[in-house]
């Protein structure tokens, strides 16, 4: 996979496609799709050849999809922000972490315990969801106001570095909040409980929760971006901030709104994560942020559908690798995919070329 030679001369060379650029063109056309399918296909074939059937790999894929829907929610935040100000919001993963912490802290406060009945549980979780979303949305807006807005005229490196700074600050907040080791969250929805089994694939409550929250949110977001007035302003600002300003769009407000949206999705993801994994810790945001960023890049950063697709694909890759290779290697595998995508298809699977990556 990684052994295709990258020929430096091809970069500097003038017209006339060299062998290197042809290889790269072929790989960026189809190779990446093949590569993404590699892990599930290899292990699926392996299972079949050992006479085990496809149910184990299907289980991996299902869990990957439900896990991936969390990554998709976070990836949307990256992609929204990148689309509008071309900044990798490094602190986004940690905003998600704060979302989990808010959720974990608030369960007890509003009286949600393991004995709460179904109706109370649904109502209570909805309240928690809204609180998480509001908290993370305003946190993200605050970060934008303090850290990124003063630097909008500065060279690109500057806001990226403040983003890293905020990421560290938020991690430290998390560290002081719940301590250095993973804290357990009451298993309110009994996440591991099986709901039904179909073709040997067991669907658990956690899977239903993840998909049940993600799908409406993503649908709502897509509608908001494509139909509402503010969504239209966002798209205009993303396309050309100066022209948008000339047309009477308040660019600052629009950018703030984008950060609010991204933060809200991260907050929702935080709640799902807390219920799904039943543990939270201050470092989860770093890892999740990188995975989600990989997802956003994979789909084509700046592209909403791409982020969701990338999130689901990364979820499957991650789950397969967790289950088959070992969780301690998963980060390396995800990052290897990130690098391969960056090298061969920086514009992503379905994204248009961005200025920066092109």
């Amino acid at each position: 996979m990684a052994d295709t030679p990258i020929e430096p001369p091809a970069v500097a060379a003038g017209p006339g496609p060299s062998l290197g650029s042809k290889v790269r063109a072929a790989i960026s056309g189809w190779g990446l799709w093949a590569l993404l399918a590699l892990l599930p296909v290899v292990y699926g074939v392996k299972d079949v050849s050992q006479g085990e059937g496809l149910s184990r790999i299907a289980q991996n894929i299902l869990e990957g999809l439900s896990n991936g829907s969390i990554w998709a929610l976070i990836a949307l935040g990256y992609t929204l922000v990148y689309g509008i100000i071309e900044l990798i919001n490094f602190a986004h993963g940690d905003v998600f972490m704060i979302g989990s912490f808010v959720a974990a802290g608030i369960f007890g406060t509003i009286g949600l315990t393991l004995t709460t009945g179904p109706a109370g549980l649904v109502g209570g979780l909805l309240i928690v969801l809204i609180i998480c979303m509001v908290a993370c949305g305003s946190l993200n807006v605050m970060i934008e106001k303090v850290g990124y807005r003063p630097l909008r005229n500065a060279p690109k490196l500057a806001p990226l570095i403040t983003a890293v700074g905020f990421s560290f600050i938020l991690q430290n907040v998390g560290l002081l909040w719940l301590g250095g080791s993973p804290a357990s969250v009451p298993d309110l929805i009994r996440a591991q409980q099986d709901v039904f089994t179909i073709w040997g694939v067991t669907v658990q409550r956690a899977d239903l929760l993840a998909i049940g929250v993600t799908v409406p949110l993503v649908t709502g977001l897509t509608l908001f971006i494509s139909k509402s007035r503010l969504g239209k302003a966002m798209r205009a600002t993303a396309q050309d901030p100066d022209a948008a300003r000339l047309m009477g769009i308040n660019v600052d407000t629009t950018i703030s709104a984008t950060f609010a949206l991204g933060g809200m999705l991260a907050g929702a993801a935080g709640l799902i994560y807390a219920l799904y994994q039943t543990t939270v810790w201050y470092f989860q945001g770093f890892q999740a942020g990188l995975i989600a960023f990989t997802a956003a890049v994979m789909g084509g950063i700046g592209n909403l559908r791409g982020a969701v697709l990338g999130g689901l694909i990364i979820g499957v890759i991650q789950q397969t690798s967790d289950n088959r290779i070992g969780p301690e290697w998963t980060p390396a595998i995800v990052f290897a995919f990130l690098i391969l995508i960056m090298v061969f298809r920086p514009q992503g699977l379905i994204g248009e070329e961005t200025r920066e990556a092109g």
């Binding site: 990258i6 500097a12 991690q171 430290n172 002081l176 990188l290 390396a332 990130l338 960056m342």
Partner: protein, 393 residues
Amino acid sequence: MTSVPAAEPTPAARSRRPELPPWFGRAAAITLGILAILMPLFFDPISGFIDDCVIALAYVVMALGLNVVVGFAGLLDLGYVAFFAIGAYTVGWFASGFYSDANIHILVTGNADKLPGIHINFLIILVVAATLCAIAGILIGLPTLRLRGDYIAIVTLAFGEIIHVFAVNGDGIKIFGDRYPLTAGRQGITPVDQVHLPFVEPFNQLNLRPWYWLILGIVFFTLFIVIRMRDSRIGRAWVAIREDEIAAASMGVPLVKTKLFAYAAGAAIGGLSGAFLAAYLNTVNADQFAFTFSIFVLAMVILGGMGSVWGVVLGAVLLSFINNRLIPDVLNGVPGKLNLDFQLADLGFGIFGFLLVIVMILRPEGLLPERRHRIEMHEDIDVQESMYDEERL
């Protein structure tokens, strides 16, 4: 005077005040250099202060290396810890009893000559570490050649994390048979060989002076190399691609070669420091190679002033002392005295995050900025129209 060796000449040397004679900067640098050499003689050989100085100087080397990549060439590298890891593992592999089945001794004296394992003279180790890191730097640099700006940051970060994962899980990777794991994972490879060099007293934990002089020598060497590179053809080429890649390419600057050279040079310097730190700390532990370290070194470069050699030296010394002395020792009890229920040491990296944000917002060019960089950071204030133009470092 005592706390910041070799960093002070900067303001005088760099500022363009007319009353200073032209030789002033050089004279100040030499004076401070001599003071830095003599400094440990005034302290107890095992004092904590010398220990802090040794660590600070090792960080100076790291920061100077990262400055070549980030400051000179403008390639934001968030995976610099990779070179700390590779440099350190060079010591772990080739200067310890880790591979106890192998029996290779090259130019070693004392205890190490009799022990099993691979033992190679520390000076050779330094060369090997620098070479390995330069190769790794080129390999990491290759995929970023077509990318710009923040994408480079992400790819380098990914490489840094991959190397961290390999370091943590390397005890399970056995390429040359069962007795030869890649790393010792979180257990750490310890102990590693003591350094033996002529003319200075034995290197051990009870006498830190030789360690200090060794790292000071490495700092002088690195400073020399870095300053010569900056003022040479390659240095100008780096600045040119930092300022405008397209213009530089059309003026005939070979982008690929120039960028790869920046990666290789920065990595090699990081490898020197990594090898030294491994020998000094007497362990090569996978937990040392976390992302935090990359950010820590980056913060030094940014605080000091990207691209400014003396600024980076100052930034590294300051942050290192803040991290190793000020926060855990001097100020640690302050929140307790204010009836707050935490210790300042718990806020370590939060404070660094805060510093990054504050420096970027208030003084983006750093404490001792490079002239060209300062102009760049401030020119855009009155260029409102170019607000969203593609401005790069």
